[in-house]
Amino acid sequence: MSVPNDLRYTRTHEWVREEGDTVVVGITHYAQEQLGEVVYVELPEVGRTLDAGEELGTLESVKAVSEFFSPVAGEVAEVNERLDDEPGLVNDDPYGEGWLVKITVSGDGAELMDAAAYEAFLAEEGH
């Protein structure tokens, strides 16, 4: 199970990387594996303001649709436009080229887990 140590995680299987006052958000290796090959990614508009836990967009694989959520309150600073043409990046490189959204943080975020806690969470869920 691939859970990088330098990221923090949500219970809905997003990861968060802090870069100054912005955070980068993606979905975890586990989440992309569950979803299967992603064929469409629906991203939010840049500039949209968000509450923590608000739906950010959707990922579609052949078999399923899955929403992803904002781990923090803030404003959408940038979206990964490459995913329009290369949605498979979410599967191939979920922690790198397959990132989804950058958010300028404006308030406190939801409670995030570190890698160890997320791994324990996955184990608890029976994965």
Binding site: E37, V39, E60, S61, K63, V65
Partner: protein
Amino acid sequence: MAEQADLKRTPLHGEHVRLGARMVPFAGFEMPVQYTGLMEEHRAVRERAGLFDVSHMGEIFVRGPRALEFVQRISCNDHSKMTVGRAQYTGLMAPQGTFVDDMLVHKMAEDEYLLVVNAANLEKDFAYLEELASDEEGVRVENESGRWAQVAFQGPLAAEILQPLVDVDLAAIRYYRFVNGKVLGHEAIVARTGYTGEDGFELYTAPDPAPEIWRAILEAGKDRGVLPAGLGARDTLRLEAGMCLYGNDIDETTTPLEAGLGWIVKLDKGDFIGRDILERQAEEGVERRLVGFEVTGRGIARHGYAVALEEGGEPVGTVTSGTHSPTLGKAIGMAYVPADSAEPGTPLFIEIRKRWTPAVVVPLPFYSRKKKTTTK
């Protein structure tokens, strides 16, 4: 993991677990939905070959001197001209002219027919057939599903890879024909049928030798890119080929004529269950038709989504099946629409998560293989 103790397992369950398949509940069975990845498995079948466990399918035998008469009564297709060793697709008909199920009828002998039915409908079908047979002399209906394993080996390389493992000449088995033969020395029905739009075979054997046969086929094909394939790929393959899935595209509320399956309706064969309804539909025309569509906007139109003729308009139909087509690289599906909106080229709008997304009616199938197996 959810409790799956109440789910049945096929004789190949151990193979799926060993291969690391993701198992899901399907029609009361624990079945593999994918092994390495749906798209990869899909492509293996289109370009090389893939092996499916379809042991969940139901096998019902109709036997007796009046077996043909009985099969003619329950089915909309005409089985009177079949010779032994032929298979035909048809509907198991309800009095409303709708589908109790869809099935493959195999003529095993003059007085014996094998009906291969959907796993989800097996109990319902068998109860229906038993009831119908109970007031008939000279016909017995027997559910032998537990005695059969079934694998489907599908794809352009299937015949070549399978040939060394069987004692029959596969080239001599034409499309929708079958023979009784042996696979690795085990008795088998070897049928040139399938649900993928590719050439291929469905092998019916006893449960015990099934794992050995499964492993031998994968081993024989491993250097040629053969993969085990799950229910996920089976669904995208059949949809590209424009084949109906019971419970999605056809059910007890839809008739074969509405589903575009007029070719399996033989009104001139004599009476059968539901014939009067189908005759009236044939004369007066159907009100709705199952059509193929391509989504021209973004997103995948899935089962149950509303279909309208204009953006935000009143829904006139429903998506019955929808997916992303791995072969075509676009979102495709089938939907019931009013008969006067069924022409290819008709613009549709499909509500994909609260957004009316443009789509267009296209001819079925979405995909057909270049080289056809001889049928005559």
